[in-house]
């Protein structure tokens, strides 16, 4: 008799929605808007089934109107950015953007290992990337992390 669990436990995945993803989602003119909407729809389905928990940085959410925060981003929990997180982000060298550096710090401190993003900058790190970054050339086969579980919709914008 197998005394181990018979069905796999549903681990709740923590997903950080980075600033590029949120802007792509909320800006109807953004190149990745349609893809961001499709991916967000999948994330919301998983959120409702308690498979995903969605997060965004307070520094990103603070700039948004309250009705968007209560409506479009109602499922998103706030990760409060403090001075110590900004200091840690500033210590990360290399050509990373400050937003990505801050996201990395918060992901590490809050043990988040999945990010939804519209940039490629997370691809070089050992995290699951749900990418909606626009594709610029046909020669690029795949621009999403191979570890991503969700289908990462691609923009058809050329």
């Amino acid at each position: 008799m197998n005394w181990r669990a018979r069905r796999p436990q549903r681990a709740v995945r923590h997903v950080l929605l980075d600033d590029t993803f949120i802007h792509a989602l909320l800006d109807a003119d953004a190149a990745a808007h349609a893809d961001a909407g499709a991916l967000y729809g999948e994330l919301i389905d998983r959120y409702e089934n308690e498979r995903d928990r969605l997060f965004a940085l307070s520094s990103v959410l603070a700039d948004l109107p309250a009705e968007l925060r209560r409506g479009a981003l109602a499922p998103v929990l706030t990760l409060h950015v403090a001075a110590q997180h900004r200091r840690a982000a500033a210590m990360i060298g290399g050509p990373l953007s400050p937003f990505v550096a801050l996201s990395l710090v918060m992901m590490q401190r809050e043990r988040i290992r999945t990010v939804a993003s519209a940039t490629y900058e997370f691809d070089q790190f050992d995290v699951e990337v749900l990418s909606v970054a626009p594709r610029f050339g046909d020669d690029v086969e795949s621009i999403s992390s191979p570890t991503a579980h969700l289908s990462a919709p691609r923009s058809t914008d050329g």
Partner: protein, 348 residues
């Protein structure tokens, strides 16, 4: 120079140009500067643990509310060392709520005295007899297993099980408080609801426990020995037993229904059950409430029906908050979906 200062991508390229994924992606812990306060917290916890164990060995376990509050407070403060100010502010608010909860619990003893509801003496006994086909389970267990002159292994097991009531919930609360605030909130919502309903029942349904029902005052069942602390004393933990004995003096003696001992013994395992993977371990963990109720009945502290009522309250608390939290998820998801499906012009 941090490791992350190494060139991570071609600096000539702009941010949106796709880069081939490196063969070995950078682990975050190699990129993000480490949180030095983490080690301070670790050392703090080590010192706390040593201090707690020394106290336990010399003076016994801490069970009075103020001492428990102080020890939990120290633990939580250690867990917050080096954390952002906002988290300290949240901690102060949490502590206030926590203190109000326990103060209300303590005050309910006074309310029970003043309210003057009729004491339930025969009803719980009759219910127990109904469940056990005319037998008094307290009397039955003591006649078969209790020997005044000998402390057997099961006396020690039962006694130790009884006193876990003062440890397990506190440890669970403190650890969740430090490690996962969201889970702490989930835990405390259920816990506070359980306490609230239990306190209301203590006021409106004061119930005489079996040891009192067996005393000369009532004598509605055969005499019972209240030998709860015997097993624990025999293990050399006399200090703890003395504190417990003292606590009984100012406690509400007719707060038998529902049994919080039985309730908490189910509550803590039930909360962590989804995180336990092997089925055999789940089953083992769920045996603990059964062991607790058996111990309570054996010691004459509670009727069986008290324990069942405690379990029922735990179930109702979990059901209510589970429903409420799922409803919140649905409502929030629906709000977000409305935004996605709205025409582009209507967004934002």
């Amino acid at each position: 120079m941090p490791k992350s200062a190494l060139v991570l991508r071609d600096a000539e390229n702009s941010g949106l140009v796709p880069q081939p994924r490196p063969t070995a992606p950078w682990p975050l812990e190699n990129v993000v500067p480490e949180d030095r306060a983490y080690y301070v917290r670790l050392i703090g916890f080590a010192i706390f643990t040593v201090g707690y164990v020394l106290w336990f060995v010399k003076k016994g376990l801490i069970i009075d509310r103020i001492s428990v509050g102080i020890s939990v407070g120290i633990f939580i403060v250690i867990g917050h060392l080096g954390r952002p100010l906002r988290q300290w502010g949240r901690l102060v608010f949490d502590l206030l709520c926590y203190c109000v909860m326990w103060l209300c619990y303590e005050e309910s003893r006074g309310w029970a005295d003043r309210a003057g509801f009729e004491w339930q003496v025969e009803a719980p006994r009759n219910l127990d007899r109904f469940i056990f086909f005319g037998t008094d389970p307290n009397v039955w267990l003591q006649r078969r297993f209790y020997n005044p002159g000998v402390i057997r292994w099961y006396d020690k097991v039962a006694s130790a099980t009884y006193f876990t009531h003062f440890i397990f919930p506190v440890i669970a609360i403190a650890v969740l408080w430090v490690t996962n605030h969201r889970e702490w909130v989930r835990f405390m919502k259920r816990f506070a609801s359980l306490l609230l309903v239990a306190c209301a029942m203590f006021v409106v349904l004061p119930t005489v426990p079996p040891w009192m029902a067996a005393s000369r005052r009532y004598h509605i069942i055969e005499p019972l020995a209240r030998h709860t602390s015997r097993g624990f004393s025999s293990m050399g933990l006399k200090g703890f037993v003395n504190t417990w004995q003292h606590a009984l003096d100012w406690g509400n003696a007719v707060a038998a229904m529902p049994s919080l001992h039985a309730a908490f013994s189910l509550f803590v395992p039930a909360f962590f059950l989804p995180r336990i993977k092997p089925i055999w371990l789940k089953v083992l963990v769920l045996c603990f409430p059964l062991l607790m109720l058996t111990s309570l009945v054996y010691f004459g502290e509670h009727w069986v029906i008290d324990g069942l009522a405690g379990w029922l309250l735990v179930g109702l608390s979990f059901l209510f908050w589970g429903w409420f939290e799922r409803r919140q998820l649905r409502v929030r998801a629906e709000r977000a979906r409305r935004f996605i499906t709205a025409p582009a012009g209507a967004q934002g």
